[in-house]
């Protein structure tokens, strides 16, 4: 069975999709997935997380589906009880401004050529030859 080259899901999203919804779905799924991973690594079940956070298991189930829009407060609570960050915020960049002085092109020094000494020597050469 051959799949169509241009599928209806991508086509619709390319023509009508909202970047905001795309980002929200992406982030909610990523957070839910990360929580799942942390629970698995620690040998915990969603019910254990519910107990640690004093929440109902149904609440945790909803979080893990990726449909929940988390507040930073909830994320922080989860990070605290699981002992690992879920969201890693990039360190603020420190900018060092460097000023580069580009020397202006010096004008060709023609003073010497026009100097008396030069002229004298030139005339001397001529005399020699």
């Amino acid at each position: 069975m051959k799949f169509p080259k241009n599928n209806i899901i991508d086509t619709w999203l390319n023509e009508n999709g909202s970047p905001e919804i795309a980002k929200l779905v992406e982030k909610n799924l990523a957070i839910a997935n990360k929580i799942q991973e942390l629970l698995k690594d620690r040998g915990l079940k969603p019910a254990d997380l519910a107990r640690l956070l004093d929440k109902k298991p149904s609440e945790i189930s909803k979080w893990l589906t990726g449909t929940h829009t988390f507040t930073t407060k909830t994320i922080t609570k989860i990070e605290t009880v699981l002992g690992e960050d879920i969201i890693h915020i990039e360190a603020q960049k420190e900018y060092v401004y460097l000023k580069i002085h580009v020397a202006e092109e010096e004008q060709e020094d023609t003073l010497f050529e026009n100097s008396e000494v030069f002229s004298v020597e030139s005339s001397l050469d001529k005399k020699v030859s």
Partner: protein
């Protein structure tokens, strides 16, 4: 009277292959009809579901906890998922709202999902909702028929169970 249907491939992503069903010789699959019907009236809700399908397809696979069970007499599911007794939510104009648009489907395994049709659900139970009742029933009928076809080997898995195969003339009966 038996209804006949054929399986059509819809979209192939890194981790999920999506299929749908064309009923009684129709050119449009149930999923195509779902998308066309909700493209204007429920654009943002549809956007949310399609984006969900794409992201699951590309990154996570069709894990069980990402679907909601809508089983009546067969193992049908629906999108978007939710916790027990809680509506799934999504964002519309920056506000969190319940996404009551349902797309009924069959999650065959972590890599293969059949997408059917759906509508706006207005009651707690799908059986009570005039909008989704028929889609819900049909999803369960189709799920039962597909399950039978898997058991009778009319639908076969590929080597790594990431796609299915069935003869070109194969028709589901339900």
């Amino acid at each position: 009277m038996n209804t006949f249907a054929r399986i059509v491939p819809i979209a192939k992503y890194n981790k999920v292959s999506y299929y749908s069903i064309c009923i009684d010789g129709s050119e449009n699959s149930l999923f195509n009809e779902f998308v066309m019907r909700h493209s204007i009236a429920n654009k943002e809700k549809l956007n949310h579901i399609l984006e969900w399908l794409k992201q699951i397809g590309n990154k996570y696979g069709a894990q069980q906890h990402l679907f909601r069970s809508e089983a009546e007499f067969a193992d049908a599911s629906a999108l978007p998922p939710t916790g027990i007794k809680r509506e799934p939510n999504y964002t519309e104009y920056g506000k969190i709202k319940a996404n009551n648009l349902r797309l009924y489907c069959l999650r065959a395994n972590q890599h293969v999902v059949f997408l059917f049709d759906g509508d706006i659900k207005t009651t707690h139970l799908a059986q009570d909702c005039p909008n989704v009742r028929d889609y819900f029933k049909k999803a369960n009928q189709l799920t039962k028929a597909i399950d039978k076809a898997f058991i009778s080997k009319q639908i076969a898995w590929n080597d790594d169970c990431t796609e299915i195969d069935c003869g070109e003339d194969f028709k589901l009966q339900f």
